[in-house]
């Protein structure tokens, strides 16, 4: 890579278009984003239960600058609301997570889930249709058999490309509580779905049965003090998975040891620092996302103020801790009052596991280079994203004199939160969801 920025080895340029819905309603809020395993496709799910899949354009000699732009490929309604949207006891259609299956044939498969039901969707292309039936007209009307005097072989004729999404499996009725994550196993035959208290194992072919492999529901619900916040399969070891908790711990489980994986084989928790203890200590230690590195050697966790990288061989403390927005530490009471302290931020690795990224408030997102220890704050907003220009790093002023381009902590907009981001598996392309807008940034070499 020839160009180097001052902050990171990447320069991110905004796309020529920012993808967003024309009218901003609650249903358009993006609730999950995910690249597929090759990065050719990018899926987003929203609060209205829709999935929109983008496909990367092929390289073109005539328009080299358009290489790698993402365009809408397929849109479909994945989940429907099960009650009146305005009632309080509904099962929301909001898509909580999307996970792609690796491509095995011409069609694409993804799992999407709301609070209660996981669905397997097949997305396939149709660009030919048969013509020349013997018993049917071109209009589809049946011909009188007595008028047929000769036979012909129907031929496939090209047609306009049509992309269809069909629900191939519906995995339902296995969760009493709200599903927060799904993860496809490296064996490509099973997956897990996780709610607040249980983890269930499914076979992709079987929808009427699932196996409960983790259950932390106490016999007496009033003894409940901890919930599961996320779970993920190890990227290579098909018998290993990890789940995180609201108390800031991660458990690594081996499915070979017992049918019910209540006993972990590894337990990751950082001892609390007594000097920073407050009434909010537990809440800010609650892990909102857990992700294995691509090489399977590390785990990354996101809690309210930090991102931590754990070595799977070291359980007593994280390998690295990165401060996302430590200037919020003095504002925890206000953030508790307005509920922002419960926001669940996700985190993501780049393809080579050298850079990690997570979101923050004011449409800021942060990247940390694990090798150089440098970090950068970028903003996903229309005003600051002129096409083809380099994204300008942002800085939050924590006290004292505010410089010209800095923003003070009190001016941060807490309604603009970047909870969902994803990184292309091989290239430096990132997708960032800012409420109802999707930003795709690419690194371009000059």
């Amino acid at each position: 890579m020839k160009c180097f920025s001052r902050y990171l080895p990447y320069l991110f340029r905004p796309p020529s278009t920012i993808l967003s819905s024309t009218c901003h309603t609650e249903a358009d809020i993006i609730s999950t984003v995910e690249f597929n395993s090759t990065g050719e496709l990018l899926a987003t799910g929203d609060k209205g239960g829709r999935v929109v899949v983008f496909q990367r354009e092929q390289e073109s000699k005539t328009q080299p600058h358009r290489r790698g732009e993402y365009n809408v490929y397929s849109t479909f309604q994945s989940h429907e609301p099960e009650f009146d949207y305005l009632k309080s006891l509904e099962i929301e259609e909001k898509i909580n997570k999307i996970k792609w299956l690796p491509q095995q044939n011409a069609a694409y498969f993804l799992l999407s889930t709301n609070d209660k039901t996981v669905k397997l969707w097949k997305i396939s292309e149709r660009d030919k249709r048969p013509e020349g039936y013997n018993l049917k007209d071109e209009d589809g009307r049946f011909r009188d058999p007595s008028t047929i005097t000769s036979l012909r072989v129907p031929v496939l004729q090209p047609m306009d490309l049509m992309v269809e999404a069909t629900a191939r499996r519906v995995f339902s009725n296995a969760h009493t509580y709200h599903i927060n994550s799904i993860s496809v196993n490296s064996d490509l035959q099973t997956f897990i779905s996780t709610d607040d208290l249980r983890v269930n194992l499914w076979n992709l072919e079987i929808t009427d049965r699932s196996f409960n492999i983790v259950d932390i529901k106490p016999a007496n619900m009033e003894e409940l003090t901890e919930v599961i916040t996320s779970a993920e399969f190890h990227p290579q070891q098909c018998h290993t998975f990890a789940y995180s908790s609201s108390k800031g711990s991660i458990r690594l489980c081996d499915m070979r040891q017992a049918a019910l994986c209540d006993k972990h084989c590894k337990y990751f928790e950082e001892p609390e620092d007594p000097s920073t203890r407050s009434f909010f200590s537990e809440i800010i230690s609650s892990i909102s996302d857990v992700k294995f590195s691509h090489n399977g050697r590390y785990l990354m966790t996101r809690d309210y103020l930090t991102v931590k990288v754990w070595d799977l061989q070291m359980e007593n403390k994280p390998l690295e801790t990165y401060q996302v927005h430590d200037y919020l530490r003095g504002k925890l009471c206000s953030l508790y009052e307005n509920d922002c302290i419960f926001d669940k931020f996700e985190c993501v690795w780049n393809g080579s596991d050298s850079v990690i990224m997570t979101g923050s408030y004011n449409n800021f997102f942060r990247m940390f280079d694990r090798n150089t220890k440098r970090d950068v704050t970028l903003e996903a907003s229309r005003e600051n994203s002129k096409p083809r220009a380099i994204l300008k790093p942002r800085k939050v002023c924590v006290g004292g004199k505010r410089r010209k381009d800095e923003i003070s902590v009190d001016s941060l907009d807490f309604s603009k939160k970047i909870l969902h981001t994803t990184w292309h598996p091989q290239e430096n392309i990132i997708a960032v969801a800012a409420t109802n807008n999707l930003y795709i940034f690419q690194d371009k070499v000059n």
Binding site: L89, E222, C333
Partner: protein
């Protein structure tokens, strides 16, 4: 205890005190900071209890959030028990004859504290009611966290039943209940949780907030009746 109506700033004294702020202050500053810390802690407790009550009314009930808030309340209660302010507060509530909604709500949450130890520290104001609470125990935890279970969908409204009752004016019943001071037992809602645990007995009106709304409604209805 905070008098009602006092506006308090969270971001200044609240942040530092509740956040466990610096300990290197002079003695006079220490005493004032400890009282502001206690005040901040109290306001945090109030806020948390309100959040718990409202949990059930959210469009998207969140078990994780409720558990975290409940743990925070427990933590505050443990600390207040250790420095004796918990007992002072419960006695003050008893003396003020307020429906002990705060008290009972935290009673619900603080089951794991040893009741013997608590009883040993100071005379419990509602010892008989305690036993009722303990019996209601198994129900209340379920109620606090049980409503997060995804239930089967409610049966569709029966059109025949609807037609039968279509000419009944529901407001008539409200008027009746308000004027006679009784409340029928509706399905368990967020405030019913506190009602059922009220130490003043099952016929007592519910938490103070619905007391106030009932009074307002009564005023309004009286105006209509009197024709002013």
């Amino acid at each position: 205890m905070f008098p009602k109506g006092t506006k308090r700033k969270f971001s200044d004294a609240g942040e530092e005190a509740v956040g466990g702020g610096g300990g290197d202050q002079g003695p006079s500053a220490a005493s004032s900071s400890s009282s502001s810390a206690a005040a901040a802690r109290q306001s945090l407790l109030d806020m948390s209890l309100i959040k718990l009550q409202l949990c059930h009314m959210l469009v998207e009930p969140n078990l994780c959030r409720s558990v975290l808030i409940a743990n925070t309340v427990r933590q505050i209660q443990e600390e207040m028990t250790q420095d004796g302010t918990w007992q002072i507060m419960t006695q003050a509530l008893a003396a003020a004859q307020c429906p002990a909604d705060r008290l009972v709500a935290t009673e619900v949450l603080c089951r794991q504290t040893d009741p013997a130890a608590q009883a040993g520290q100071s005379p419990k104001p509602f010892s008989e009611a305690e036993q009722d609470h303990l019996r209601a125990d198994s129900r209340t935890g379920e109620q606090v966290f049980g409503t997060f279970e995804i239930k089967h969908p409610a049966p569709p409204p029966d059109p025949a039943l609807d037609e039968l009752f279509s000419d009944v004016d529901p407001s008539y019943y409200d008027l009746d209940t308000v004027l006679t001071g009784m409340q029928s037992a509706p399905k368990m809602g967020p405030y019913d949780l506190l009602e059922s645990l009220s130490s003043h007995g099952p016929t007592a009106l519910s938490s103070s907030s619905s007391c106030r709304s009932d009074l307002n409604e009564l005023d309004h209805i009286m105006e209509i009746i009197v024709g002013s």
